[in-house]
């Protein structure tokens, strides 16, 4: 299998008319693990939603290609079929739809992108077997599959459920949006191991979005990027994580005064942005 590249160039994104991302450049090859760090409100989640195709995020300039597929021309479901996955920071619950039923539809659509609506789903038997195996690997109780999607799940269960979906959908690229938030250290470990297992088996390119070092002890990035004021201002290796952990963002602030002003504005209005 030839490896693909996720190539984001000069991406500008606005939410409700307000510019959030102001020219993001980022290239990820399959098999690589990248970390995207930055303070709250710097636009990290905006990047993930915009790439996945949320209708509230307006792309005003730039490109995003997965291999030779122009992601920005596709609906969200088509982006998933093209091999992009987003593990949500706040997964939505869908009452009355069981995890198993939801995932069976998802897996069917992603694995058989040319299937027509109304044609058969993947075999229940094979699906159940695969689901059980993946749930075992993540230490999830079998009962989980029969529960309604994210309904009444604890924070840790939701994140585990996201990683279960990642494992079932086997994407070329996975964006993990604050997957460690709200998890205790054991849960971070289990979830991270799950991500590493999938990434290794599938050669998935991983983008870990976080503002804590913690998860990066388990999902170790080769490349680290700092998003600040709507732009990626620093690119480096794992040493960047250590620097940030030691010094915080003050040096970034001092080094990039123009982005710092943007950052201040964004932070002031962050609560108004979805």
């Amino acid at each position: 299998m030839s490896t693909k590249t996720l190539r984001i160039e000069n991406l500008h994104v606005s939410v409700e008319g307000k510019p959030i991302l102001r020219g993001v450049n980022l290239t990820i090859n399959q098999g690589e693990t990248h970390a995207l760090m930055g303070p709250n409100g710097s636009g990290k989640s905006t990047l993930s939603y915009a790439l996945m195709g949320h209708p509230n995020y307006e792309i005003t300039d730039g490109t995003a290609y997965l291999g030779d597929v122009n992601l920005l021309e596709l609906e969200a479901d088509e982006r998933a079929k093209a091999g992009l996955f987003l593990a949500f920071q706040y997964p939505t619950s869908i009452p009355g739809v069981t995890m198993a039923n939801f995932l069976r539809h998802a897996v069917t659509n992603v694995r058989m992108p040319d299937r027509k609506e109304g044609e058969d789903l993947i075999s229940m038997r094979d699906f159940r077997k695969e689901l059980k195996q993946k749930m075992d690997e993540l230490g999830m109780d079998g009962d989980f599959a029969r529960r309604y999607l994210n309904e009444g799940f604890s924070g840790g269960e939701k994140k585990r459920a996201e990683v279960l979906q990642l494992a079932m959908l086997q994407p070329a690229f996975a964006i993990l949006d604050e997957t460690d938030s709200g998890l205790d250290i054991d849960a971070v470990r289990v979830v991270s191991e799950g991500v590493n297992r999938v990434a290794k088996a599938q050669g998935t390119g991983v983008l870990v979005i976080t503002h804590y070092q913690r998860i990066l002890n388990y999902i170790q990035p080769q490349f680290v990027h700092i998003l600040y004021g709507g732009r990626i201002v620093e690119n480096g290796g794992p040493e960047l994580v250590t620097t940030l952990e030691r010094e915080g963002y003050d040096w970034i602030r001092a080094k990039y005064p123009q982005e710092a002003r943007v950052e201040d504005e964004l932070e002031a209005s962050a609560s108004a942005v979805v």
Binding site: D77, A80, I94, G96, N109
Partner: protein
């Protein structure tokens, strides 16, 4: 009392005499009940938008004189029987035994051997075999004078279904009843009477089905009533799924009384009809009586479905739990007005009512009006209502997992109904409701 009435209201007393001739051999007490009801009908003004229950439900387009209530309908033809065969077969394959009627006339009786000590039969047969029981219960639960339509039903109902389960008899297998209208049989004024004596148990799944197809159909009319009597420690599950064609007017007054320690699980489906006006009431008449009321509505096009529910707590330690869920598309409209009433002596009442509506098009509209009247001081009564479109964040989440928006919406709508399906303990009903809603969703 003399009142001016709309022309569509008028049925002359001469015609009522003719009607009585068309239902021969009825016992004298019944004829007297009919006469009294007819007098009430003649004296009661036709409903208008000034009446509270008709404020949101406009029946000016309804023409009573388009329907012949006076004369016996023609017997069902082979064509009628063929048309309803699929609906009958679906019920027969899922349940023990049952009765099939077209326009209130029996075309297939229930299997007496399978019924055992229970009786599931048509109104006329029951009047002949158990006249005392009929006299004791008929119109003992449902009123005959709430409005002109209630009075008209009591005066001129024709045929119907009676389920009678004697004391202590437990009917293991669910029974079914099919009330059908066809392209030719467009009137059903039948009366449903269900009596479970003390300690009895039964399940009845009652489908109201029309085989007439939408636009070419002539107007249809169901003017019905359901009376339910649940004795001490008796348990009834009654499922009534209304799926008439969309040219049919559906007027139904339904009331159950549950005696001490008895329980009812009462599920109604509102899928069909041009316009429905239903009163569904449950009285908890004895201590520790309980009721679970489930409603599943799905409307399309220009349908209008209006439900008025009551949970009357008349004794202490009684429980009622009502959940109505509706999905709306097109320009359709639903109205739900609920009332929990707690009588002064009904301490330790635990009552709940909830109505959720999923509004799938901009032109659809759902009105939810919960109500409480509480005259006891040690009770727990809660109510709630929600209405709104499909949450776009749910759709996006599903899309992000590769599920196309249309499929996502379908899953979300099906999921919306899941918590009411989960309450219905008659297995095949859940599946048939699910399929019926899915079908309406794909057409709607």
């Amino acid at each position: 009392m003399s009142t001016a009435v709309a022309s569509s209201h008028a049925i002359a007393s001469l015609e009522f005499g003719e009607f009585l001739n068309s239902v021969p051999n009825e016992p004298a007490w019944l004829t007297e009940k009919r006469r009294a009801a007819f007098e009430s009908f003649a004296a009661t003004p036709w409903p208008t938008s000034r009446d509270e229950e008709w404020r949101r439900t406009d029946i000016r387009a309804f023409r009573l004189n388009a329907f012949d209530l006076v004369h016996s309908p023609a017997a069902a033809t082979l064509e009628d029987l063929d048309e309803i065969a699929p609906a009958r077969d679906a019920l027969a394959s899922a349940y023990g035994t049952g009765i099939v009627q077209i326009g209130g006339q029996t075309t297939q009786p229930a299997d007496l051997i399978k019924l055992g000590k229970a009786t599931l039969t048509d109104f006329r047969t029951f009047a002949e075999s158990n006249p005392e029981i009929l006299e004791k219960y008929l119109f003992g639960t449902v009123g005959t004078s709430e409005d002109a339509l209630a009075a008209l039903h009591a005066a001129m109902f024709r045929g119907g279904i009676v389920l009678y389960v004697p004391k202590g008899v437990k009917v293991a297998d669910p029974l079914y009843a099919l009330s059908a209208m066809t392209a030719r049989q467009r009137i059903d004024t039948s009366h449903t009477l269900i009596v479970l004596e003390d300690g009895a148990e039964a399940t009845l799944v009652h489908d109201l089905v029309s085989t007439a197809s939408g636009e070419s159909a002539t107007p249809g009319l169901h003017l019905g009533a359901v009376e339910i009597v649940v004795g001490k420690d008796a348990n009834l599950k009654y499922v009534r799924i209304q799926n008439w064609d969309d040219q049919t007017w559906h007027f139904s007054r339904e009331r159950a009384t549950v005696d001490a320690g008895g329980s009812i699980q009462w599920t109604i489906g509102g899928l069909g009809s041009r316009l429905s006006k239903v009163n569904q009431e449950t009285a908890l008449a004895g201590p520790k009586a309980s009721a679970q009321v489930n409603g599943v509505m799905f409307t399309t096009g220009k349908q209008h479905l209006a439900y008025f529910t009551r949970q009357d707590h008349q004794a202490e330690n009684t429980t009622s739990d009502l959940l109505y869920k509706g999905g709306l598309t097109g320009k359709s409209r639903t109205v739900w007005k609920g009332m929990i009433r707690v009588e002064p002596g009904a301490q330790k009442t635990d009552a709940y009512q909830k109505n959720d509506s999923l509004i799938l098009t901009q032109s659809a509209r759902a009105d939810s009006i919960p109500g409480l009247e509480i005259e006891a001081n040690d009770v727990r009564c809660t109510h709630g209502a929600t209405a709104g479109p499909v949450d776009p964040e749910m759709v996006f989440y599903a899309e992000a997992r590769g599920i196309p928006a249309e499929t996502a919406k379908r899953l979300i709508v099906e999921g919306f109904f899941a918590n009411v399906y989960d309450r219905i303990s008659v297995e095949p009903v859940r599946e048939s409701l699910r399929l019926a809603v899915a079908k309406k969703l794909s057409l709607g």
